[in-house]
Symmetry: C2
Subunit: 310 residues, 2 copies
């Protein structure tokens, strides 16, 4: 760890709380050396240590409540919409009538909330390794954890890699991998054997969308993901990105892949969701225009990330 | 000012250097309360106070050299490409054969560098209020200040508002307003009288592109800009945005407007620049795809920012 917590810790923050500005939470990591984003803390609501990671929830002064795992911001109430809506609707709006969906990770429930907007969906499995994340979300983030209330949802607490191995071949129309960074419990979710299990679990022409880091910070990781996916998935392979202010560099990317079968054109959604106001309220971020736009990459990234159409 | 510099200042940083993490530069402002982005400092290269603002240049550990005006990051060597290329090529690629271009602000020279890629351009005026910015850029950012070397460039040191008033009606094909935030010397550049002067200085069907803050942080400012521009510009009016990791919230927007005259369709560039490798090297960020994509807004922003086609 190159982490340098320097500075003092305000007397009202507990010992060990990651703070470099007294009274502020600071996000410092070897994944983004030399920079740190800090949020002013009003109140620490929860601090715990599960079998897998340290879990913190705090009330920030301008981003609402914030969920932190192992020192890294996972979501804030103010900007969670862009991540949750994009990682969900990019895959689900790219195929007609998704029926069976698997979420790996995503224990906060936000992706479930978005999946459940799709009336074609009959079954939503979620496999989250850390029960503490689910419990904490239900307690502190009701507008996110609302996803668990949908009767189509079955929660499996356990290892996503093992879960996928036990899934009968061709079960799902879509798999969404809402993981943390590839340091810690999520590491295996970026490796080739995992992608092979995902491909097996998908029907022909099924799709996967996986959290795929930042084009500004992690091009080497992205190139690795693309290389793994190109070997495993025989359908379309595309990279998309969106803006999330509280993620490092302000952007996050998604790797979208399809298995061999009915062609999938990720850039041109066939299953529009916008305008459907259900019990989850209106979409805040996603629309069909921004779906297509998300696949347009800056030149420096386009050079290194080859897209593959069916 | 709600700024809370808290914490200690490392002994190797001069007194008054904006640092909340010892040895790091921190960007705290009432424009983005409750959050701060920090960069690790290797070396302070310059600190000065001009008639208009405080100017700092430092070598960061992971973003190259950084230019700071009044405590706010203006550019870093690592990510300046996205801002400079987008603010320039969004307007210039939207009209055929731009010949006369005016840059207001932009004293670092980066926009000039991008304008000069356009071989149709015959004359580039730049009006920057602060000579210290130009001098500092020439000394510390040669790959940015290279824009001043183009023989088509005439530098005017002075107030952009006054400069525009003296410009004969209909002089320019395009005006680019590369300003800092509307607190400090750039405030007038966000007001209606300024936009009226810009419109007067443009030929019929001429275009302006102005720095227009963040959809995540400054929607009230953006709504004000849109309202002003809608009254002044009788052609197309569109808002675009891009990613700049070291700007607050990780995004920056641009207001694009056209005067009455030949129709301008900002979303569909008619004057592609990509692939032209001149003495400035290849474009790092901009391409025609990302030009069009930049106009696709998240739903929450689309609701508040009406676009107007010709």
């Amino acid at each position: 760890m190159e982490a340098n917590y320097g500075g003092g810790v305000a007397s009202d923050l507990p010992e060990g709380f990651p703070s470099v500005i007294p009274g502020w939470f600071s996000e410092i990591s070897p994944m983004w050396p030399g920079e740190a984003h800090s949020l002013k803390v009003e109140n620490i609501l929860f601090q715990g240590k599960s079998d897998y990671q340290k879990v913190i929830v705090f009330q920030s002064s301008t981003y609402g409540k914030v969920l932190v795992l192992d020192g890294v911001i996972q979501l804030t109430e103010r900007d969670e919409c862009s991540y949750q809506e994009m990682i969900t609707h990019l895959p689900l709006c790219s195929i007609p009538n998704p029926k069976k969906v698997l979420v790996i990770g995503g224990g906060d429930g936000g992706v479930l909330r978005e999946v459940s907007r799709h009336s074609s969906v009959e079954k939503i499995d979620i496999c989250e390794i850390d029960k503490m994340v689910v419990d904490v979300s239900k307690q502190f983030f009701p507008s996110v954890a609302i996803g668990f209330d949908d009767p189509r949802v079955t929660l499996h607490i356990g290892d996503g890699v093992a879960f996928l191995k036990a899934v009968p071949e061709g079960t799902y129309d879509a798999v969404i991998v809402d993981s943390s960074d590839p340091i810690g419990p999520a590491q295996e979710l970026f490796e080739k054997p995992f992608f092979e299990s995902v491909a097996r679990a998908l029907r022909p022409g099924g799709v996967v969308c996986t959290q795929a880091e930042s084009i500004w910070l992690h091009m080497h990781i992205i190139e690795g993901i693309v290389a793994n996916c190109s070997q495993v998935f025989k359908g379309s392979i595309n990279y998309a990105w969106t803006t999330v202010p509280t993620y490092p560099s302000g952007v996050i990317g998604f790797m979208l892949c399809a298995t061999e079968g009915p062609a999938v054109d990720f850039k041109n959604p066939v299953n529009p969701i916008e305008g459907r106001v259900g019990d989850k309220g209106e979409l805040k971020f996603y629309n069909s225009e921004i779906h297509s736009a998300a696949f347009c990459l800056p030149s420096f990234a386009r050079k290194l990330i080859p897209a593959k159409a069916d």
